[in-house]
């Protein structure tokens, strides 16, 4: 087990290195850097001024060396401001340039860099934003996993029944609807004071406020309430729920036709016990992997949802960073994404072994 974990960690680190280099290379392409120089210094710089600015700010070195610096295995660049003569460098605090700087300052040392959009350190931005997204994801998972598993198992235990058909249609519909559609539909239906359900409910005297839910989740950053958080959570969860329910159903229908289920039935076991005791555990092996795969996918989904509901989390930050050509922040975001993907994969592999006694070591 230990050797397996070590080996998996080894491959994880290797994969992480490769992926981060790809992102580093792409964000540091020449046009990107030029744009950065123009936004940072002056939009009217000439080509040679841009070049000088880039060299002065440490962007002139070969990509591999700068990747090493960013990682923290190559000493950070140092230089002098051509105008003021103040020391400059990767590890120099721009607000306080005279203090003695460290030699190495990459992500290994915990220095994630400086965000040009938010004018703050990347690590502090990421930690607050990730926390916000973490809360959103937590509620999404709390809603999505039980609902999808129940829907999948109920529709899979009697394949072809009316209940199965109904639930299948519902899950296909939710999976087929992208977040930007379902989000807009939900906002219109539930959070508009003029349209959808709210005016009707108000007319019947069931609703006293302006609308059922809030269309913006900005206030949820400070204080999560039912009104301000329901719609973003439902929007993200809907897509995944349908998907996992379909997978669970497929796995369940397969298990229900397995011979050992017939064995159990012909032992005289009740249908309910057959489902709960004999089928469930075998049917959950496949959805477990799918759920784990869904978590990185959710990170992707929140980009749209957070922007739509103005919830300042990880996804929203990513959009801002991309718009503002914020190289260090983008790099930080992609590292987070890579780690999430690899970690969930590791958990899914280990969990799979424990769920499935056939591949466990005896």
């Amino acid at each position: 087990m230990l050797r397996f974990l070590l080996r998996r960690f080894g491959t994880m680190i290797l994969t992480g290195l490769c992926l981060s280099f790809v992102v580093f290379y792409l964000t540091n392409l020449k046009p990107n850097l030029e744009r950065l120089a123009k936004t940072q210094a002056s939009a009217r710089m000439t080509q040679s001024q841009v070049h000088d600015w880039l060299v002065e700010h440490g962007y002139g070195e070969p990509v591999l060396k700068r990747y090493g610096e960013w990682l923290g295995v190559v000493p950070g660049w140092t230089g002098k401001n051509t105008e003021t003569g103040a020391p400059m460098g990767r590890c120099v605090d721009p607000n306080n340039p005279t203090t003695k700087a460290a030699t190495y300052c990459g992500i290994l040392q915990g220095t994630w860099g400086y965000s040009t959009v938010f004018r703050s350190s990347v690590s502090s931005i990421l930690s607050t934003r990730l926390q916000a997204t973490g809360i959103l994801m937590l509620w999404v998972l709390i809603l999505m996993i039980p609902v999808s598993l129940v829907v999948g198992i109920v529709s899979g235990m009697r394949e072809g029944s009316r209940l199965d058909r109904g639930l299948s249609v519902a899950s296909i519909a939710t999976t087929a609807t992208p977040e930007y559609v379902s989000g807009v539909v939900l906002i219109v239906l539930l959070s508009s004071p003029m349209m959808g359900l709210s005016p009707v409910l108000r007319h019947w005297g069931l609703l006293h406020g302006t609308a059922l839910f809030k269309g913006s989740a900005a206030s949820a950053l400070d204080h999560v309430t039912f009104a301000n958080f329901t719609l973003p959570v439902v929007t993200v969860a809907l897509y995944g729920t349908g998907y996992i329910a379909r997978m669970t159903r497929a796995s369940m229908t397969e298990v229900m036709t397995a011979q050992y289920i017939r064995t159990a039935r012909l032992k005289g076991v009740r249908f309910r016990t057959v489902v709960l005791k004999h089928a469930l555990r075998n049917a959950l092996i496949a959805p477990f992997t799918v759920i784990m795969l869904q978590i990185p996918w959710l990170l992707n989904g929140v980009v749209i949802t957070e922007t739509l509901f103005n919830y300042k989390g990880f996804g929203w930050t990513l959009v801002q960073a991309a718009e503002g050509n914020d190289i260090e922040l983008l790099l930080g975001c992609s590292i987070v994404a890579v780690v999430v993907v690899l970690l969930t994969q590791l958990i899914s592999d280990i969990g799979y072994i424990y769920l499935n006694p056939r591949i466990r070591i005896s």
Binding site: R262, A264, R265, V269, L355, R358
Partner: protein, 696 residues
């Protein structure tokens, strides 16, 4: 429970009357079983025999009232202890399932829940039906596990199904069926997935337990020999109908239905010989359920068919005069001369054996495997083949016999070039090929060593026409100068395997199993193969088709002077068609010699057990019963000394524990007959024949 008191034990325990079962698809109703009647008395074992698709398993599921969504009983009744099962509510049925009627299935691995411990699965039965506490139920489970002769019951109760061998799993399924001491046991091909020596152990167990508990049995099998060993009465089914029923001895010796007779003539019984007394295949194919003929279903394939009479109307079961509840569904059974010898198909001369074409010298194949799900186990060496040495001659059939895991398939892979040998030599016409994988072999070598696979259903490309697949083989082998020539050659190959030329345009799914296997044979012979490895070529086929396919192979062999390496576990077929036999156990050749030498004493102790284990469908045959204890040892961890010493019943006759320490030498018994055993000359000479045919 009240019904048990009202039921009179002298009455039948199971009474099926005029049962008809249909499956409903969107297109049509498919009648699976029609007008089926049978009676099982208490303590009686009833056999249901027939080919696949004849409806025997459907009858079993009908008794269990578990026909799925599409199946429905459309007529007749199934009475169990006098109560009609078809009219019971779900709750009543549940009380009977597992408690009064238990079932044993064909594939033990698939029938056990992979995620539940064995003890858990066994204890469930008395917990449901008798309301026992968990602890009490586990205690009972432990006792029954010991009853089915499994070693170390405590360990087994805590194991998961995949941790047991196939034979052990089947014993667990039997134990599960016996947990509530049922009155009726339904066995659906319980040993088909198992090796013969394991099968023999299971059959013994079932018979003993039946006597011990007084359980009635409904034994479903396609193997007539097995029915003879286990049952009192049998019912032969054909295409959804019972065609003949009666006491086993009576039906075997005085059959009164043409299908039963044809079935017996198409299986290789002792005395059959490929040259002098060839098998008689049943012509034609099994009718599909919706293509059944009018009148007698067997009519179109029957030798005694009379137009206008047999195909006029439905035929009922009629009692055979003088028989013990012996019935036949034939209009003409009183007219037919049942003792007339079969019209002998053309006999052939034994073809002479040619020079050596293939020579194996001390061939070894080892695999390195690492164990454990996390891949951190120590790498182990599996010795799949150990010092294999033999020669095969032109025009000869060499059978390679052994149970699963004995290394016969590994050997085939090495010969074909799918694997390369670890050491040793393979000489094909004086050319060393042991180190040349198939990708590097030239077209000539590839086309001269070909293979016929076990399962014709999976080895043909489902999206290519039959003709195209054969032409593809011709292209690869470099046969023919252009497409027209290859097309012509393809048609000739179809003629060779006796398929209509029109089949060239068909897709594999439009063919029956036997026809698919013929295509497989045509493909193997496309490049004029000199050596054909036939890996269990008929074991996936029905009995009536097997004979035709074996005959075809023999005929092509005679014509082309091909060397046939016939891999099989079915000793009846081997005895029928092979010239020489090689017996393998755990990667070793333990005996090799001509068929007569191997099938008569002196034997290697393993050969002796193997011969004894094969069920033979002939009432005249007297067999010595030798049941091997335990399972085949793992090739990963073979026993020291002689590979067979852990199960050998002769071991005590070898002085000084030699079997535990030393690998026996290959001993020459004269005339090329070799035995790998430590037994002394006298001991070997004292062996008695396993199979004896009583004088008629």
């Amino acid at each position: 429970m009240t019904d048990q008191t009202t039921w009179d034990p002298s009455q039948p325990i199971l009474e099926i009357e005029h049962l008809s079962i249909s499956f409903f698809t969107r297109l049509r109703e498919i009648p699976a079983v029609m007008d089926f009647s049978c009676t099982v008395m208490p303590g009686e074992a009833m056999g249901l025999v027939g080919e696949s698709g004849c409806g025997k398993s459907t009858v079993a599921l009908g008794v269990m009232q578990d026909l799925g969504k599409n199946g429905r009983i459309v007529g007749g009744s199934i009475k169990f202890k006098g109560r009609d099962l078809c009219k019971m509510s779900d709750d009543e049925l549940r009380a009977i399932r597992g408690k009064e009627i238990a079932m044993i299935y064909q594939e033990p691995m698939a029938s056990l829940n992979p995620a539940m411990k064995i003890g858990e699965q066994l204890a469930e039965v008395p917990m449901i039906h008798e309301g026992l506490s968990r602890a009490k139920a586990l205690e009972l489970a432990r006792q029954i596990v010991a009853d089915v002769r499994l070693p170390d019951p405590d360990r087994i109760l805590k194991a998961y199904p995949h941790q047991l061998s196939g034979g052990q799993q089947q014993r667990i399924v039997i134990a599960m069926a016996l947990m509530s001491k049922p009155a009726l046991l339904i066995l659906d091909e319980p040993t088909t997935a198992l090796d013969v020596t394991v099968e023999a152990g299971i059959v013994d167990l079932v018979k003993d337990l039946g006597e011990k508990y007084g359980t009635s049995m409904l034994f479903i099998s396609h193997n007539l020999g097995l029915i003879l060993e286990t049952c009192d009465r049998l019912c032969v089914m054909y295409s959804g109908e019972a065609v003949e029923t009666g006491a086993v001895a009576e039906v075997f010796d005085e059959m009164r239905h043409p299908y039963t007779q044809a079935l017996f003539r198409s299986i290789p019984l002792p005395g059959a010989d490929k040259n002098a007394r060839p098998l008689i295949a049943i012509p034609g194919n099994f009718p599909l359920p919706h293509e059944r003929p009018q009148g007698c279903n067997f009519g179109p394939r029957c030798d005694y068919f009379q137009k206008g009479r047999c195909d006029a109307r439905d035929i009922a079961m009629d009692p055979v005069p003088g028989g013990d509840r012996h019935e036949s569904r034939c209009l003409r059974f009183a007219e037919i001369d049942w003792d007339a010898p079969p019209q002998v198909a053309k006999t052939t001369e034994k073809s002479p054996i040619g020079p050596v074409v293939l020579k194996m010298d001390d061939l070894r194949k080892y695999y390195e495997v690492s164990s454990g799900a996390f891949g951190d186990g120590v790498a182990k060496v599996v010795k799949a083949n150990e010092s294999l040495s033999f020669e095969a001659h032109e025009g000869e059939t060499l059978a390679i016999v052994g149970e699963s895991g004995c290394g016969k398939s590994t050997f085939a892979k090495v010969l074909m070039g799918l694997e390369t040998a670890t050491s040793g030599e393979i000489l094909l016409f004086d050319e060393n090929i042991q180190d040349t994988p198939i990708q590097q072999r030239n077209a000539n070598t590839v086309s001269s060593v070909q293979m016929v696979f076990q399962n014709p259903f999976d080895t043909l490309n489902p999206s290519m026409t039959v003709g195209r697949q054969i032409i593809r083989a011709l292209e690869i082998f470099g046969e023919g100068r252009n497409d027209a020539e290859r097309h012509q050659r393809m048609l000739e190959l179809l003629d060779l395997v006796k398929l209509p030329r029109a089949f060239a345009e068909r897709k594999p799914r439009q063919l029956s199993g036997g026809q698919k296997q013929r295509v497989g044979i045509a493909r193997a012979f496309a490049g004029g193969a000199k050596i054909v490895v036939a890996d269990e070529p008929v074991s996936a086929l029905d009995v009536s088709v097997q004979a035709a396919v074996t005959d075809l192979l023999m005929e092509i062999q005679r014509k082309n002077r091909t060397t046939l390496l016939f891999i099989s576990h079915d000793l009846s077929v081997v005895r029928y068609l092979s010239d020489r036999v090689m017996v393998m156990y755990l990667g070793h050749v333990v005996e090799i010699g001509t068929t007569d030498e191997v099938f008569s004493p002196p034997y290697h102790p393993y050969t002796e057990a193997l011969l004894s284990a094969v069920p033979i469908a002939d009432t005249r045959v007297k067999k010595k019963r030798i049941v091997l204890e335990g399972d085949i040892p793992s090739a990963m961890n073979p026993p020291p000394g002689c590979p067979f010493q852990t199960r050998c019943r002769w071991k005590s006759r070898v002085p000084g524990g030699l079997c535990d320490r030393e690998m026996p030498p290959m001993r020459e018994m004269g005339n090329g007959h070799q035995i790998k055993c430590h037994l002394s000359e006298e001991e070997l000479a004292s062996m008695e024949p396993v199979i004896q045919i009583a004088a008629e």
